[in-house]
Amino acid sequence: MDLKLLEKLCELNGIPGDEGDVVDFIVSEIEGHCESWQVDPLGSLIVFKKGKETPKKRVLFSAHMDEVGMMVSYITDEGLLKVVQAGGIDDRAIFGRQVQIGKNRIPGVVGAKVLHHLTDEERGKALKTSKMYIDIGCTTREEAEALVEIGDPVCFVSDFEMLGKNRIKGKALDDRFGCAVMIEMIKKDLPYDCWFCFTSQEEIGLKGAWSAGYIVNPDIAVILETTTPGDLPGVSAPDDCCRLGKGAVVPFMDRATLYPRNLYKWAHTTAKERGIAIQTKTLVAGGNDAGAYQKIRGGAACLNISAPCRCLHSATVIADLGDIDAVEKLALIAAEELPNF
């Protein structure tokens, strides 16, 4: 994985429904490496990559561009911004963060009632997003309205950095990681024609995949994603679901999809034969764009290959470079073998 590419992707801001900057960046990366691209009405970027041969099956790779964030919902008389979540964030991972608002990246901080004015009970209670506000340093509504509009996107500020020698941390790894894998695949010579969907609006219910999937009409959809391991100290199998550093996660089932047995088995057998670290989910948890692709135009057969990421849906998503490598390798083999599956 080209970590510089991943860093650039993660530092773009793109909440669900506002993925334009991510589209522009990806287009700048892939132009010249693909046959054609288009942006569909919901903002997904659909790329057609010509291979050496046109296979009998149409294979689509998919990763979503949007990241969890917030939207400005109200501006108070005091010039503070109230927000709603766009995508599901744990309420407890929002207060006290630095954020950026809108295209001009107006800096702000997420504030709430100060600790010293809380009751003992309140100190131990999760603070809801509705009780927070963003302080951009304005003192009146008029002042704030000159800089910010209702509906403006709000994204976390978080450095993309190494944690130790083998892990990375950043915002939006869910799912710019998958986007990075696909950009690198598009830049390679592939044996067969493939489609790549960089979807919009996954975090608010797989919306982008519904439109992009209809347009491409794939036989097989391979979703490149991130997923949550529960591998804290003291949590062992099966409750951990999957573990960071133990390879690509290919599940048999999640909360949205029952994956076809043959593709699931293909992935696990192939990974083991090729020495690629692979694991499954030992619980039924999570979900991804496969939930849409399996139901579009008669349905595509879906395979999900994910990198386990700690603190998913936060400003501080953690991934392991070994897992990333495993996902990349398995995705590339999928592009070689699944068109004739």
């Binding site: 009632k113 450095d159 100290p233 948890a285």
Partner: protein
């Protein structure tokens, strides 16, 4: 010469969790050397300076701000490299999950407070925030390697990015109480080249957030006749109790409390009026919860006043203050040094 904002950034970015303030004290001491050569760092990490000497027969006035910041202390490192910590000072538990952390070992080690996966959480757990002792910090470094660069007792801070917001609002960790050190620098700028009727000492004291050791020892060593403590006070937000708050942008909050010297606060109010310096009242019935509570008790008693800087979101990595309030306090301190109530 550095601007007040540049000094503030430098001070806020320095690390100095209570009881281990060395790095922040060095930065503060360096900044003080612009005004005097008589700067020392005490064995317990407080910074002392004699800024002006009017003569041995003249009384000594002390300006004090604390140099320590809240944070955490490493209590356990497991074989997988997960770190456990205790709270040092009043950490706000509501913001800990998925928070970026810096562990201050032999090098600065970035870490993240882990969240429990949604599938492991009951609805009740989702409504609670963990105790500091229960959070788990991931550094991505295997246990044996980590133990070579981090040991028990090392401090940790929440990561913060100093940022200028709109107008003159600034946000960072450790504004409590580095912003008040900057108030004192603003006063020293005003006093440059001026003749004072008193000896002027400055202290940036350690361990205000817990134990109060720095202020107590400093008041003994510097032996002031009169002292002014400078600390932060909660500034109003729409959800806070108006009666308990100061306001951002409304100037120096002059402390009014039983333990504070009545003549000093009246003088501060008179000076603010005389010099047209914005000010507000901060009335406290009992303790002030600042170094003033401690300084008053030392060496047979020190008459002490308190000036507070309005601050939002205290004890978070995104504390917000206004530069105009820092300037107002600087002016008021300077006016007091030139015309003190002794």
């Amino acid at each position: 010469m550095m601007t007040l904002e540049e000094k503030l950034r430098l001070l806020c970015e320095a690390t100095g969790v209570t009881g281990d303030e060395g790095a922040a004290s060095e930065v503060a001491a360096d900044l003080l050397r612009e005004y005097t050569d008589k700067v020392t760092i005490t064995p317990d990490n407080s910074v002392h300076a004699i800024v002006y000497e009017a003569g041995e027969d003249k009384p000594t006035l002390l300006f004090d701000a604390h140099i320590d910041e809240i944070g955490m202390i490493v209590t356990h490192i497991d074989d997988d490299g997960f770190v456990r910590v205790g709270s040092v000072g009043g950490m706000d538990r509501r913001l800990l999950l998925a928070q970026e952390v810096v562990l201050h070992g032999t090098e600065e080690i970035p870490g993240v407070v882990l969240t429990r996966a949604p599938h492991l959480q009951s609805p009740e757990e989702h409504d609670k925030v963990p105790e500091v002792k229960d959070i788990i910090i991931d550094t991505g470094i295997p246990g044996d390697e980590l133990k070579e660069i981090l040991c028990l007792g090392d401090r940790a801070t929440l990561k913060s990015r100093f940022v200028r917001l709109q107008g003159d609002h600034v946000s960072s960790k450790a504004m409590d109480d580095r912003s008040c050190a900057v108030c004192i620098f603003a006063a020293l700028d005003e006093l440059k080249g001026k003749e004072l009727p008193v000896n002027l000492a400055v202290s940036f004291t350690s361990q205000e957030e817990i134990t109060g050791t720095g202020a107590t020892n400093t008041a003994y060593t510097l032996h002031p006749d009169v002292a002014i403590a400078v600390d932060v006070t909660n500034a109003m937000t729409p959800d806070s109790d108006k009666l308990k708050c100061s306001e951002l942008g409304k100037g120096a909050a002059i402390g009014i409390a039983p333990a504070l010297d009545r003549k000093i606060w009246k003088k501060l109010i008179a000076l603010a009026k005389e010099h047209d310096i914005p000010y507000q009242h901060e009335v406290m019935g009992g303790h002030t919860a600042t170094n003033a509570d401690l300084i008053v008790t030392v060496r047979g008693g020190v008459r002490t006043g308190l000036i507070s800087l309005p601050l939002r979101y205290m004890h978070t990595p995104i504390e917000v203050a206004r530069l105009c309030d820092i300037e107002a306090i600087g002016k008021l301190l300077a006016a007091y040094a030139l015309d003190p109530e002794l």
